[in-house]
């Protein structure tokens, strides 16, 4: 018996989407079912595999592998590290998320310049991103663990305050803030549900599933990309990759998401 799930499921979704608002619950169920079917074959696995290869490969001017990288639990420990990020790192004296830490290691361990390490954070169809693959690999090594991002060090608390300020700060030509879309339960934009990101129930479900394979983009996207895209959608100035602002927002979300089970890389529309 042959079952080609992808086209069949896509057909079912298209049919589900053709219902009008009255059938929203049905549509929601259809989407849940679509996700469930696809999760058996999440293409993000391909990114995890490529990330693992990159992690173990000797690269850069120092011809070293990232196995020497300290992700917060000691040199070379990958398992569980993602579940405790973002966190403060004494060697850089910064709060860092997974991507920012990978960049640090590419510079410190492998000898890349920061520009080289960060030149391609978001992939395009003809130019895959090493950082997306590496982040997928590191995240996957914490799958099933509970998120426990620390909020004790003064810099972590400061990052939380920065994130909180940014979350509520309305700006730009649309006078938008994160809270405009993510501050109330039960909101959606067109057919897309908008999570209330400072509600633990919602944050735990959302924050723990990034990085994620985006079906509409055919690639894995990271939390850095999600925030970058939100800033673009709000018509705010561009959010710089692994900037303090981006990490502040993650620390803010992580506080509410703590206790949620990591299921990354996830699978999203």
């Amino acid at each position: 018996m042959i079952a080609m799930r992808v086209p069949l499921v896509a057909g079912a979704l298209a049919a589900a989407l053709s219902f009008v608002a009255a059938a929203q619950d049905e549509t929601q169920k259809g989407i849940e079912r679509y996700r469930e079917l696809l999760s058996e074959g999440n293409p993000a696995e391909l990114w995890e595999a490529r990330g693992e290869e990159l992690w173990k490969a000797k690269r850069g001017p120092k011809n070293a592998s990232l196995e020497q990288c300290d992700l917060g639990l000691g040199r070379g420990v990958v398992k569980g590290a993602f579940a405790q990020m973002p966190r403060y790192f004494p060697d850089t004296d910064r709060v860092q998320d997974v991507e920012s830490r990978i960049v640090t290691c590419m510079v410190a361990v492998q000898g890349f310049t920061p520009e080289e390490a960060m030149k391609n954070p978001f992939s395009t169809p003809d130019r895959p991103s090493d950082l997306e693959a590496l982040a997928s690999y590191v995240a996957a090594a914490s799958r099933g663990m509970k998120l426990d991002a620390p909020l004790r060090h003064p810099k972590e608390v400061e990052a939380f305050r920065v994130g909180e300020q940014l979350f509520y700060r309305r700006a730009g030509p649309h006078d938008f803030a994160c809270v405009s879309c993510h501050g109330e339960n039960g909101k959606r934009i067109r057919r897309q549900d908008l999570p209330k990101l400072n509600d633990p129930k919602e944050a735990r479900r959302i924050f723990t599933t990034w990085p994620a394979y985006r079906v509409s983009q055919g690639t894995v996207r990271t939390m850095q990309h999600r925030l970058y895209d939100c800033y673009w959608q709000m018509r705010h100035p561009q959010l710089s990759y692994v900037s303090e602002a981006s990490i502040g927002l993650m620390v803010y979300m992580a506080k509410y998401a703590n206790g949620g089970t990591i299921n990354a890389p996830g699978l999203k529309r």
Partner: protein, 104 residues
């Protein structure tokens, strides 16, 4: 060189259940790039699955199959420990073959 496939093959209810994830861009030839030029079609045309010298699945694909396709099927006559081999060939003649062992 294309990335390897991820293959899972296991015995379920006396049959071999196979799940394959292939890394392929599956360009339809209808999309335009940032310069407005058409991105040439590039997609998997044939998929063949063999087990112990016989073909258990042969498929002809086109541009309507998604990027990074996922294929799920079952076949009879396999046993745990035996191997299956999966090959795809795309419209540019590129190909990739991967093997997996059926688990119990």
């Amino acid at each position: 060189m294309a990335d390897p496939m991820r293959i899972r093959a296991s015995m379920t209810g006396g049959k071999v259940e196979v799940k394959v994830l292939m890394a392929h861009e599956m360009e339809t030839g209808q999309r335009k790039d940032a310069q407005g030029k058409i991105v040439p079609a590039h997609f998997i045309r044939n998929v063949t699955v063999t087990h112990a010298g016989r073909t258990v699945l042969a498929a002809e694909w086109g541009t309507s199959v998604s990027r990074n396709p996922f294929l799920h099927f079952r076949f009879s006559g396999g046993k745990a420990g035996e191997k299956i081999s999966i090959t795809w060939v795309d419209n540019k003649g590129e190909k990739r073959t991967d093997e997996a062992t059926i688990s119990g």
